[in-house]
């Protein structure tokens, strides 16, 4: 069996099926929805960080951009949710195009510039001068498309698409070439890889993923402020989850989200007063003791991790 099929059959399908069944069993649908959103975002981070080495510290810029793309379509064009969702993705891709010059930066410089870019987008969207377009700081209320159930299924669809992208990257020469670019751009160019084009494609793909996630999020929550959808914790969580599991793999980010976001919710439900403290310590421990993620426990033993 080709590995692509194996990955789709034994990783992607079971995950999707579980999350399709869970709402019937477990009633905190928003928690399930947030799991799906973080699965999407963590894989989006995986695409850009895992496969090209750019750490998108302002990843939430695309997410918020998508959410506002969705909101503006609903508010101004009275578009139906599915169409608005597509526009959410397009909005994020356009934002990604605008930010492609950032790819000239390396390492921490890229991470910081990306963070600054996401904050710039936040303050732009939230400026009262744009009240007629974005509702500025006053927040949007999308009662016309309010349908959490449909939004949940849309989120699963976006997750399926995202996982499809990652499976493709993991099994294709394209993905291999991306990793080559990450390891050494000069050598990659000397292998005939168009370094700039590869990076831009990965960058836009991860922007699209976050934009769609932002779109379904806007659809689901329907009332939000700029601070809600541009909250830096989306970036941080997505990155920490992806790293915890292990990037450049399919299952790493999935395991990362399931375990770490699970633990996060467990702490939140049980010992709320030390929530932030415990979580901060957990993150530090992760970096110090498992810097290559959980999958490294397996790869260190020479096992292959998809």
């Amino acid at each position: 069996m080709p590995s692509t099929l194996r990955h789709l059959l034994f990783i992607v399908a079971p995950l999707l099926i579980v999350f399709a069944i869970l709402p019937g069993v477990y009633e905190n649908h928003l928690m399930l929805f947030n799991f799906v959103v973080f699965l999407i975002l963590a894989q989006g981070v995986n695409v850009i960080y895992g496969f090209t080495g750019y750490l998108p510290f302002g990843y939430v810029g695309f997410f918020g951009g998508g959410a506002y793309g969705f909101a503006m379509m609903v508010m101004h064009a009275h578009a139906p949710a599915p169409l608005a969702l597509i526009v959410a993705g397009v909005a994020a891709v356009l934002l990604g195009l605008l930010l492609t010059p950032l790819l000239r930066l390396s390492g921490a410089y890229f991470a910081i510039a990306n963070l600054a870019a996401s904050l710039a987008v936040l303050h732009f969207v939230a400026n009262p001068a744009l009240e007629d377009i974005t509702r500025g700081p006053y927040g949007v209320s999308l009662t016309a498309t309010f349908n959490p159930n449909a939004a949940y299924w849309a989120a699963l669809l976006v997750l399926a698409l995202t996982l499809g992208v990652v499976v493709f990257l993991k099994n294709s020469r394209f993905g291999l070439a991306l990793q080559a670019v990450r390891e050494d751009p000069v050598s990659a160019a000397m292998a005939g890889v168009s370094v700039v084009r590869m990076r831009v494609v990965a960058w836009l793909a991860s922007a699209l993923i976050a934009g769609l996630a932002g779109g379904v999020y806007a659809w689901y929550v329907s009332v939000f402020f700029p601070d809600n959808v541009f909250s830096g914790t989306f970036s941080i969580f997505a990155i920490v989850f992806a790293l915890f599991g292990g990037v450049a793999t399919i299952i790493g980010p999935i395991v990362g989200v399931l375990i770490l976001y699970g633990v996060y919710n467990l702490i939140g439900f049980t010992t709320p007063q030390y929530f932030q403290l415990i979580y901060g310590l957990l993150i530090m421990g992760l970096v110090l003791f498992l810097p290559a993620g959980l999958v490294s426990l397996a790869t260190r033993r020479g096992w292959h991790v998809p």
């Binding site: 020469r173 291999l176 070439a177 990793q179 080559a180 390891e183 050494d184 000069v186 050598s187 990659a188 160019a189 000397m190 292998a191 005939g192 890889v193 168009s194 370094v195 700039v196 450049a248």
Partner: protein
Amino acid sequence: MSPEPTPILQADGLVKRFGGFYALGGLTFHVAPGEILGLVGPNGSGKTTAINVISGLYAPDGGRVTFEGRSIGGLASHRLVHLGINRTFQVPKPFLSLTVRQNIEVALAYGRSASAPPSIESLLQEYRLAEVADRPAQDLNNVQQKTLDLVRALATGPRLLLLDELAAGLNPTELDWIASRIRSLAQAGMAIIVVEHLMGFIEQITDRVIVMNAGKEIFEGTLAVAVKVPEVIEVFLGGEHAA
């Protein structure tokens, strides 16, 4: 030497500046298919810069470089690879977290070799990497990494190959082995430019050398003749001319 065929690469008055420093100050030379050309000269004479310009790492600031009659100055590296130019690096830079096989796969897939490229298995066998094929490149020793760098270049089916200090750090047996590989590549019609400090190695494999100083060529001919030219001797100051 047989009568010279048409050159595959022709450099005319190449200039490369870094700030006010002229790394190349009007370098002119050519190389023909099937020929092994040595670039020699003291440190800082512009040998590696020449290779970097030809392989597209730097755009030239002046002069002209043509490959198979086509001007290639300033083209991006991957475009040059597709045209049939490739190189190795003084310090090899394989894709460390990828396996040896994956390293070669990338080049095979993206090299757009004009001729059918050699198969991955034959490359692994021929260059003694079969045993480590499924290990990540970071596990390889320096010589193996250098070989992998060469194989990565060969996988794109180049017609012009630039070798930057390939021989450094190899023991005599390995040197003989790699020299024979290079010669057989040339015999198959590949043009090869070798930058090297080891004069014995240069003498062993090159048909012709260009001696460089301060970004320009000061001698062209065989090494045996070069070492008798006073200007060349002066440049090396009795340095490395082992011949």
